[in-house]
């Protein structure tokens, strides 16, 4: 089943929706405005009736896998259950209906929620304060690096480099570059952890910060984290925590205690705000005392039970987005924390680690495990051993789709060949993990007996593997002016 584009279903004279009339006597835009301010060609939006529109999107929805229906073992993404009550909380008119420029007196509940969420996040990661402004993880990284830059700058220290491990997520180096730093890569050692020797060689007074995630993207806890912190701090650099992997140890340990100076969190991972097919998320950043003066404005302050937005922060890096963050996502994350409590969050991380190790055990006879366990909340396997049969990680991913599972993250982190990165999360049952392991076994078995079946996967999806090379060529042709079909959008055929 495929579905035509809304544009392709559009008919020229389909009825426009009924909408309120102006009901006032006032001039038309064309009477008041000069011609060159007016649109000459109406936009070519689709014309469809409401029943057609709803059918269209319902059918599109049914073409998606999602955690509501499928196990989604996407490593590094923490695809856990999104509590339905959180959606109800965010939709309360008392939140959804608030204008961001209402007077503080009329939004005390919203500010209180933000204040409490900040306190809760501080408790979880062990920092002094948190800004809720950043819209996603990458935005949080960049926000933190700007604070770190401002901090060094305030001390007359013009540091130019940021160290990033080779196993890091792409947003880390990209955020560093966007903040005007040079990126210097630090190598991983044999055991999958950062190489202390290499780190040592890269540390210098030019280094503004080391960006780490812990457990790292291989799902391994950086055992030497306290030494690393000491080394980094000794050179006057700061330690930055990429919180994508925070689900591994809530209530077990805290980045702040490990020596991290700034920490971003992905509320759309650890704190269950739904991923929405690619956002919106929220990427709050927590900081230790030295960085507090540099937090973005405004902060939320509470004095004698009265809440206020503080815009007067002279050393602040300023604003990193409009208004106060993705407030609707903050409500959801807060609802999650309230329902789970300290005990629940702790058990969540314990269960996440348990499930990852259990699943790792179940598949270790079928997939290569490049690093020793135990792992934390996720593990990275490899399909390298199937290369001889012509089977790649991608083939395994596609075969899983046919078996009603979403695929693990593949080819990331870059330090493992044919990487298959699996994060089961705490909200999948043992029965589901067992079924997934059985599917892996069956697929790996097919690699020997019928590799073509894997190359042909997926068969049960709305489409088979798409020819991305041909698509790229066509896009290229368009971008170079050799074709008029943009590929990146629908365009009415000229006639």
């Amino acid at each position: 089943m495929t579905e035509l584009l809304s544009f392709e279903k559009s008919r020229p004279n389909a009825r426009a929706p009924r909408l309120p009339d102006a009901d006032v006597t006032a001039p038309e835009p064309s009477q008041l405005l000069p011609a060159d301010l007016l649109r000459t060609q109406p936009p070519d939006l689709p014309r469809l009736s409401e029943p057609e529109i709803m059918r269209h999107y319902s059918r599109l929805a049914s073409m998606n896998y999602s955690i509501s229906e499928q196990f989604y073992p996407l490593g590094s993404c923490t695809m856990k259950y999104n509590p339905v009550v959180n959606e109800a909380a965010a939709a309360l008119p008392g939140f959804a209906g608030l204008h961001p420029y209402q007077d503080e007196d009329t939004v005390q509940g919203a500010l209180e929620l933000m204040w409490r969420l900040e306190r809760a996040l501080c408790a979880v990661v062990g920092v002094e304060r948190v800004t809720l402004q950043p819209a996603a993880g990458a935005h949080g990284e960049w926000t933190a690096l700007r604070m770190i830059k401002a901090y060094h700058h305030s001390r007359g220290d013009a540091r130019t480099e940021v160290l990033v491990p080779d196993s890091a997520h792409g947003t880390n180096p990209a955020s560093a570059a966007l903040s005007g730093f040079q990126v210097v890569e630090v190598k991983s050692g044999r055991d999958g952890r950062i190489s202390i020797a290499d780190l040592e060689s890269k540390l210098s007074p030019r280094v503004a910060a080391l960006m780490l995630t812990n457990p790292n993207t291989l799902g391994l806890f950086e055992r030497e984290i306290l030494d690393i912190a000491e080394m980094v701090h000794a050179t006057g650099a700061m330690l930055y925590y990429d919180g994508a992997n925070l689900n591994a140890f809530m209530g077990i340990c805290r980045p702040g205690d490990m020596g991290f100076d700034a920490v971003h969190m992905n509320l759309h991972k650890t704190f269950t705000t739904p991923h929405g097919g690619g956002g919106p998320g929220a990427g709050p950043v927590g900081v230790k005392a030295e960085l507090v003066p540099f937090l973005p404005t405004p902060t939320v302050e509470r004095t004698n039970g009265h809440l206020a937005l503080d815009f007067k922060r002279p050393r602040s890096i300023g604003r990193v987005r409009s208004f106060y963050g993705n407030f609707g996502m903050l409500v959801r994350a807060y609802a999650y924390i309230v329902a789970m409590g300290g005990d629940g969050l702790t058990q969540a991380s314990r269960d996440a680690v348990l499930s990852a190790n259990y699943l790792r055990k179940q598949v270790e006879s079928d997939l290569e495990m490049p690093h020793e366990g135990p792992c934390m909340h996720e593990f990275v396997a490899s399909a390298h051993h199937l290369a001889a049969d012509g089977i790649r990680a991608l083939d395994i991913a596609k075969a899983l789709l046919d078996r009603d599972f979403y695929a693990p993250t593949v080819y990331f982190p870059l330090v493992v060949t044919e990487a298959i990165m699996v994060e089961p999360t705490e909200t999948e049952s043992k029965a589901t993990l067992d079924a997934f392991a059985a599917a892996i076994k069956e697929i790996v078995g097919l690699a020997k007996t019928n590799p073509q079946a894997l190359h042909d996967a997926p068969q049960n999806m709305p489409v088979g593997r798409l020819d991305e090379v041909a698509a790229a060529r066509r896009i290229n042709a368009y971008l170079q002016g050799q074709s008029e079909d943009p590929i990146l959008r629908w365009k009415r055929a000229e006639n």
Binding site: S66, I67, K361, P374, A407
Partner: protein
């Protein structure tokens, strides 16, 4: 623990299967000194109590009725068709991840492809991306594009750009070592001229002239636009702008105290490789079936790392979906009607307010769209009076612009029915 799955028996049997005695055996890599006893947070609550607590927070906020909301400044109350929530509340959309596996994500991918097309159509430019965080970061990302494209280090901001967008632009520029200058005269170092149409005060700028002067200086023209107004106002593509950006909140998203909303960006063909974030394109499988997939990924952080066009990864996909449903519901005629109703009511209101003693348009010589600045005697007192009557009155813009003392901006949309205008005027006069 409301959202946990394993029973104690499950845990025990899983530990056994792993071959360890206890959870602690799995946490051995964590230095003992780092282990904490417990989180300093209250114990969890039942769903009923959780929701009661949160509802009581919501009850401590005051929500003004749509029809009596005249405050805008970047966030607007509009009619949102029920279709929007009916689509975005589908778990198949809202609980999916970024569509890395295209075969299992055709719903999201096709929806994004349609969003890209809708935005490209609306702005009359060639290609739009899958979304950005908000209008402010969209402006900043556009400036980065211009910076890289032209190799120049300065952007010129003409007129009343939303002050928060300006602030964010400065923050981004600072990181990249770019300067932000206010003015209308681009120079040889200027990468782009940025203007907002209508501007923060609701006034219309001479987009065509600004665009031409940018081009004359070898700079790009970046237009920050109100998507609804584009049903009637000249779109960036028409007057030759190179990049269009904007905030999509008006396209079916609730105010939600400022977010999540959605930024959009579109550009001319020549600039497509500089676009930040995700792009979806069409492709075919070996049976010839058309599908959709992420395209031009080599611009992005997960491939290009520090050389990426932007660091953005998670964007605002679900908000873009909402905007798509909204635009599809409206169609070209619907969008036009919404735009015109807003325009007309704002113009009627402006006339009525200008007739009040001591009130006058702040920029009588300038045209506006559906938001307009009035010079008002005793603004703060007026606002207090309106709030008492349940009206969310105009926005006092003096907070951001020293020169605009006593200037308040009023907004009208299709939700401010004529009787609501009467009530506003009566409340002011009372």
């Amino acid at each position: 623990m409301p959202y946990l799955v394993h029973s104690e028996e499950d845990r025990a049997s899983m530990l056994e299967a792993i071959g360890v005695q206890s959870m602690d055996d799995l946490l051995l890599d964590i230095p003992r000194s780092l282990r904490i006893k417990e989180l300093e947070l209250p114990a969890g609550l039942s769903e009923y109590e959780t929701m009661s607590q949160i509802a009581s927070l919501a009850a401590r906020n005051r929500v003004f009725p749509d029809r009596l909301t005249f405050r805008g400044g970047g966030v607007y109350r509009r009619f949102i068709p029920a279709a929007v929530a009916a689509v975005t509340s589908k778990p198949e959309f809202y609980t999916a991840y970024t569509p890395y596996q295209p075969e299992a994500s055709q719903g999201t991918l096709q929806a994004i492809y349609e969003f890209q097309t809708l935005i490209a159509e609306l702005t009359a430019l060639d290609v739009a991306n899958a979304s950005l965080y908000d209008g402010a970061t969209a402006v900043a990302e556009a400036a980065m594009m211009a910076h890289v494209h032209t190799g120049r280090d300065e952007v010129v901001v003409a007129g009343y750009l939303h002050p928060e967008y300006l602030e964010v632009l400065r923050a981004f520029s600072d990181g990249r070592g770019m300067k932000v200058r206010k003015g209308t005269e681009p120079g040889p170092k200027t990468a782009a001229v940025i203007f907002q149409q209508p501007d923060f005060l609701g006034l219309l700028v001479d987009a065509k002239t600004l665009t031409e002067s940018a081009h004359a200086a070898g700079a790009l023209a970046i237009a920050c636009v109100d998507p609804i107004s584009l049903a009637v106002l000249a779109p960036p593509g028409q007057y030759g702008a190179d990049i269009a950006v904007g905030e999509g909140q008006q396209l079916g998203l609730s105010p939600s105290y400022g977010g999540p909303h959605v930024g959009f960006i579109s550009c001319r063909r020549e600039l497509v490789r500089r676009l930040p974030g995700r792009l979806v394109g069409s492709a075919y499988d070996h049976q010839g079936r058309r599908g959709f997939t992420l395209a031009l990924a080599a611009r992005e952080q997960h491939i290009r790392r520090e050389k990426a066009t932007s660091n953005i990864c998670t964007n605002h996909s679900l908000c873009a979906l909402a905007a798509s449903v909204y635009m599809t519901y409206m169609g070209p005629e619907g969008l036009r009607q919404v735009a015109e109703v807003s325009f007309k009511r704002a113009h009627l209101l402006s006339e009525r307010l200008a007739a009040l003693p001591g009130w006058e348009p702040a920029f009588p010589e300038r045209q506006f769209w559906n938001e307009f600045p009035m010079r008002v005697p005793k603004g703060p007192a007026v606002l207090r009076k309106l709030a008492k009557k349940g009206i969310l009155g105009p926005l006092d813009v003096h907070r951001w612009f020293r020169e605009l003392k006593g200037v308040l901006t009023f907004t009208c949309t299709e939700v401010n029915d004529p009787r609501a205008l009467d009530e506003l005027v009566a409340a002011i006069e009372s």
